[in-house]
Symmetry: C2
Subunit: 222 residues, 2 copies
């Protein structure tokens, strides 16, 4: 059972994807047929498919086979979890990264222009967030608001990656939001509104300042 057979199986699947023969949602060839086709043991084929599952490309459903899927941000989030676990990074580093990323996203939206549709989505998310204050929906509304900024970039690479960062980050923020008192909620909401105002009016400096005050509040509370 060599490493190269493992690789061969993975390459076979990737070739099917590359060739367009396999799309997200499609069922993969059975383990047996791959094993026969490549002359590789079923154990190795199964290992390789599990590897692809970890990468977020394959979803194995018990009793029904393997399906092509698209959970790449989940697998990046998993890698981040492992980094945290191994002390290769810290909560502080990820928070600082996220603050910078949000600044980048907003500068990008202001610099490159943000479509009216995206502006409306951002404002709608801001309003839902306002209405959710004090309810159990608050942390989801908060996540959706920050997502709405990233989605407005219309860059799927950015969206996938930031979804992964958010997945890890949101565990901390959820905790913070649940315990935050009304005055902190008001300050957060004020900074959310100013961020949006900066995007709408195209005032980068104003927007970045609002992001800084937003993350200052959160990081002080962590």
């Amino acid at each position: 059972m060599g490493n190269s057979e493992y690789r061969k199986t993975i390459d076979y699947i990737l070739d099917l994807i590359r060739g367009g023969m396999l799309q997200v949602g499609d069922k993969l060839p059975t383990e047996r047929s791959i094993s026969e086709k490549l002359g590789i043991s079923r154990n190795t084929v199964r290992e390789a498919l599990r590897g692809l599952e970890i990468l977020g490309i394959v979803n194995g459903k018990q009793g029904s086979g393997n399906y092509l899927t698209d959970n790449i941000s989940e697998s990046i989030a998993k890698a981040m979890d492992v980094m945290l676990l191994m002390n290769r990074t810290s909560k502080e580093e990820i928070c600082s990264f996220r603050r910078s990323m949000e600044k980048t996203v907003c500068s990008y939206l202001i610099g490159r222009g943000c479509s009216n549709e995206n502006k409306l989505n951002i404002v709608a998310a801001l309003n839902r967030l306002k209405e959710s204050e004090g309810t159990s929906e608050n942390s989801i509304a908060d996540r959706d608001f920050h997502y709405s900024l990233i989605y407005a970039t219309e860059n799927s690479f950015w969206i996938t990656f930031m979804n992964a960062v958010s997945e890890v980050y949101m565990r901390w923020i959820d905790n913070f939001l649940i315990t935050a008192d009304h005055s902190i909620q008001m300050l957060l909401q004020e900074s959310h509104e100013k961020m949006v105002q900066g995007i709408i009016t195209g005032d980068t400096e104003f927007c970045l300042k609002a992001i800084d005050s937003h993350y200052d509040i959160i990081e002080n509370g962590f």
Copy 2:
């Protein structure tokens, strides 16, 4: 062979890491001992270890066992490759992301301050890049220069992630640099110098403009 046994094996290894019993470079318990300890088949244990290999946490050396490793940026790069393969992202999106990231990194360095040691490293990398023009070392020197900016953030999460982005990106840029003529090389070098000048003098606007002109040259050449 249930999914839960696979999970159990992974959790067992992660617990060893969490508890500090396993550090980067250490040899993992043998597949047999894990299998006996958890009462799980060796095939499942092996599958789980291969999964951790894909995540960049375990390195299996033929005939010698499995070692704890730290190839997380490689595994993120692999996930990016898959996204490209599945048309979930494009060269354009990754380039645009990278341009924005470099702006974020430089704004961060200027805003938060960059230590003298890091400034010296950046200048040294710039000088090596200048000297390498026209030689086969040029694309490595170019990568090292851009790395020196990211390293100056001293944020390991950022470094790990950008290493992954660079790994994918550099394949394109290498190709570009090899074929670029002297006038393009001069323009690139000028923008590199201006970026550094902006960082040293703390002039964000000047620096960001230089980054834009740098990536405009590259993206026009792609």
